[in-house]
């Protein structure tokens, strides 16, 4: 490939395509490389995108038929033992009308393809079925382009944006990010279960087009630091579960067995009853947080999205951080093009923009959260069991007096989680999110 581009983007996900849209809008010549046969064919996530962040890139995304599955009107947080569970549900009228599409579910195979088409319409070149295998550098070490697995596959660009996702052998192999440590990622598996649209409406108590997200913690991850989720799509339900990869290796747990066990839980089974599994996928989540973010830019390159470990584990936000960091990377590149300076100094505005935005502020705020979960395994072992045992005993109506029940329940809880440990847990939890 003889042509020279202003910018080459690795990866056609939310970060890469957001960048490509902004760059093309700004008049830059941009090319995006995607290893899948089409954008989205390799991508998977829980399922939620955010209207606010998408609107900044495609203001008329609704008119352009963005493939939205369901508008989220209700969020559930659940805490499960093996046999029971608590659920906290919040629903608000605002999410039906004036804040409609604040959050919505999408399938990545459809959405990423649609998003890439928008970038293409703006003038970006999207090349699929092409793996970027290495980065080209000049003798001074400046990045000057990409090497792909196509014949004659070198391409020069003034700047390269790495937006190739959390599993990036490219970043690790070229030294832009240290190779991922198992404790810094969660491995998640997800199944797509097909159900008629009206059955989903009825089971989740929503009107057509609206939906629910459900995040679940507790014994369901078999003592490992992890989380599960159930999200509603138009005519399917996404059910997934994940845990820290180092925990998986230590516990010798099989992810798909954990998923099947979750599907049988009394709070989950009725939601997916008679549904037909349609797809099974696996992916990492960059859960290490702020302290695992690599150097974000250098001579001739920038890193955005999951590649840069931008993920808010507490709020399960990632796609918005990817879109925003991609957009800010593109604004920085446009500035560098104007000044004709692609050195680390010329791209310095990226760090400033990220620090001024919610992206790094949020990640900094929760920097202690990953280690909080890692050091409080009782959240996934004794605590959910004790909490659920307590509710079950209190709700069992028999001839035992309430006072006796209460003291038995307290004794059982104290036996499993010592009061000091419980205090420590509350204190550490507050410190990790304050």
């Amino acid at each position: 490939m003889d042509e020279t581009f202003d910018a080459a983007v690795v990866g056609a996900g939310p970060a890469g395509i957001s960048a490509a849209c902004v760059l093309a809008d700004g008049g830059a010549k941009v090319i995006v490389f995607e290893r899948g046969e089409y954008p989205g064919s390799k991508n998977m996530f829980g399922g939620v995108l955010y209207g606010n962040h998408l609107r900044q890139i495609i203001p008329d995304y609704l008119e352009r038929n963005c493939p939205i599955e369901r508008n989220i009107v209700e969020s559930r947080l659940s805490y499960f033992s093996e046999s029971g569970g608590y659920s906290l549900i919040y629903r608000d009228r605002a999410f039906f009308d004036e804040r409609r599409n604040n959050a919505f579910t999408v399938g990545r195979a459809k959405f990423d393809r649609w998003f890439a088409d928008q970038a293409r319409a703006k003038g970006a070149v999207i090349v699929c079925a092409t793996v970027v295998t290495d980065l080209l550098r000049d003798p001074a070490g400046r990045v000057t382009g990409v090497r792909t697995d196509r014949a004659d596959g070198d391409l020069r660009a003034k700047v390269v944006l790495l937006a190739d996702g959390v599993n990036s052998p490219l970043a690790a192999g070229t030294g832009f990010r240290p190779e991922t440590k198992p404790e810094n990622v969660a491995l998640a598996v997800k199944e797509l279960i097909s159900l008629p649209e009206e059955v989903i409406d009825e089971r989740f108590g929503v009107s057509p087009g609206n939906g629910v997200t459900n995040e679940i913690m507790g014994n369901i991850t078999w003592g490992m630091n992890g989380v599960a989720f159930v999200y509603t799509n138009r005519s399917s339900v996404s059910i997934g579960i994940g845990a820290n990869l180092a925990d998986f290796a230590r516990e010798k747990a099989r992810p798909y067995e954990m998923l099947e066990t979750l599907k049988l839980h009394p709070m989950i089974a009725p939601l997916i009853k008679d549904g037909k599994p349609k797809e099974y996928t696996a992916h990492w989540l960059p859960e290490g947080g702020y302290d695992t973010i690599p150097r974000l830019y250098g001579d001739g390159f920038l890193i955005a999205g999951d590649s840069a470990m931008m993920f808010n584990a507490l709020h399960r936000e990632g796609s918005n951080l990817a879109m925003t960091s991609g957009r800010l990377a593109a604004e920085t590149i446009l500035e560098a093009l104007k000044n004709n300076d692609f050195s680390s100094r010329g791209l310095h505005g990226y760090a400033r923009r990220l620090h001024e935005s919610f992206v790094l502020e949020d990640l900094r705020k929760y920097r202690r959260f990953p280690s909080f979960l890692e050091t409080h395994k009782e959240l996934f072992t004794t605590l959910p069991r004790a909490a659920c045992d307590a509710a079950r005993e209190m709700l069992t109506v028999d001839r035992v007096s309430k006072r006796t029940k209460q003291s038995l329940v307290w004794k059982a809880i104290r036996g499993q989680v010592p009061p000091l440990r419980l205090l420590r847990l509350v204190w550490d939890a507050w410190r990790s999110v304050k």
Binding site: R35, G36, E37, G40, S41, K42, N43, M44, F45, G107, R108, A109, K110, F111, D112, C128, A129, T130, V131, T133, T148, D149, R150, N167, P169, E179, T180, K181, P182, V185, L187, V189, E191, L192, N233, S236, L245, A246, F248, A249, R250, K252, A253, R254, P255, Y256, E257, L259, E260, T261, P277, K278, E279, Y280, T281, A282, H283, W284
Partner: protein
């Protein structure tokens, strides 16, 4: 609970390359030095299977998550993405 992951992988579409994108660098290491063999458990596609005298690599059903590359205690797995356009192909994602 015994779950046959093959039933799940059967739902997925793959464009299988003739050549594997995964390779054990040194098959000896798995038996001589790796007591836990965690790849046999955490791989979501059960790519690694214990045979009589070796671990087989069933790359055809790989979901490309990367876990074995960093989760192998001996970094004994050579891992690259399948060639452009090959490997798993999500219908929904």
């Amino acid at each position: 609970m015994i779950v046959k992951v093959e039933d799940k992988l059967f739902l997925d579409r793959f464009n299988v390359d003739d050549e594997s994108h995964l390779r054990l660098r040194d098959g000896e290491v798995c038996f001589a030095r790796c007591e836990d063999q965690p790849c046999l458990y955490f791989c979501p596609a059960n790519v690694y299977k214990l045979e009589k005298d070796r671990i087989s690599v069933n790359y055809e059903g790989c979901l490309e998550c990367g876990s074995c590359r960093v989760g192998c205690p001996h970094f004994n797995i050579e891992w690259r993405f399948p060639k452009g356009g090959y490997g798993v192909r999500h219908k929904f994602g």
